[in-house]
Amino acid sequence: MEKIYSRPIGLKKSINGYCPGCLHSAAGKLIMSVLEEFDLLERCTQVDGVGCSANNHTSMDVDSIGSPHGRPCAVASAVKRISPETVVYTYQGDGDLASIGLAETMMAANRGDNITVFFINNANYGMTGGQMAPTTLMDMKTSTTPYGRHAQEHGYPMHMCEVLNALTAPSYIARVTCIDAANVRKARAAVKEAFQHQLDGKGFSFVEFVSNCPTNWGLSPIESLKFIKEKMLPEYPLGEFRNR
């Protein structure tokens, strides 16, 4: 009998620190799986943002740099320029990438630094207890929008793929989700494509995962998938925004 689906070898042999049903785990799993397929586990560096992604370094067995909150892209740009033979990627939440780190993200993209950026959009600050993020949906209640997110006061959800698409340099931009098997497969293909861009020296590649935060959304894992499908995806349409 042949093993047709295995746990990626880049994952440590222990339970990780993410909550049950958190799709952070799913994204990490795909990244490890693609690195394994490309035989890059031994020549990659992961740059983690601050957020629930801080769990990564306890579960992923690759070289990694825990970066100051919001600064992974700046850190990764330096690492890649110094060590071009290393595959360098960041792993960041929406607070990290789209709020405190927005300038670093956009400027690395604008410089066309040859790095890959994974963006976990769960519409809140998961790690710190579910505060409003730039990506929080309209009317969504969070611990700092107790009365809901309202346009007048808080503006609108931030669409990072679309914003990055306004820049010249990025070479690959895609938005995916892991809510079901079909989407997981598409997400994996996007991760692969992104790394391929880096291997080909094409510059900045970016994959946004429309994700969940069952804990802070106050939903069961299954309910949270439904929420993604019904609420998140209409706001954050999936697809490839750029592939050159």
Binding site: C19, P20, A54, T215
Partner: protein, 185 residues
Amino acid sequence: MENSILIGGFGGQGVMIFGQLLCYTAAETTDKYVTYFPSYSMEKRGGTANCYVTISDEPIGAPKAEMTDYVVALNSLAMNKFVNNVYSGGTMFINSSVCTEKPDRTDITFVEVPASDVAREIGDSRVTNLCMIGAFIAYTDILPPEKVLATAFKKLGAKHPEFNALNEAAFKRGMEIGKAAKAKK
């Protein structure tokens, strides 16, 4: 008089509510000094969650007591981790439904409360903690049970009045278990 209590379990088991119900009751119905100190692991769910409660006649210096008079363990992880935090002569309450191997310490009393089983019987695993509180209060007499229950109604029933009956049932069953244990001592 100072009573210090350490409550430990998994996140989601109602550890914090346990501690807070004691504190609110003490703070709002007595003249005692009261402190509550929560301590989480990094993970929000699935991780460990503990809290420290101190109820005292005098100002409280160390709200996170290294050694406490009582430890309440809602799971075996907490039981094993905190068994040495009980003062000699103190008491450890264990959720015997999930804590199978009792630690061997002979200088403290163990009160076994099958709280998870009770909760399952009552029909909602979320009332495990109320059962433990019932047992704890009945055994220790630290606070008047009716006051604690009233606090539970006030704090937990506000949002979910439908839980009041379940909570009360669990609390009462816990009290019975606590009383029985006390009688034995």
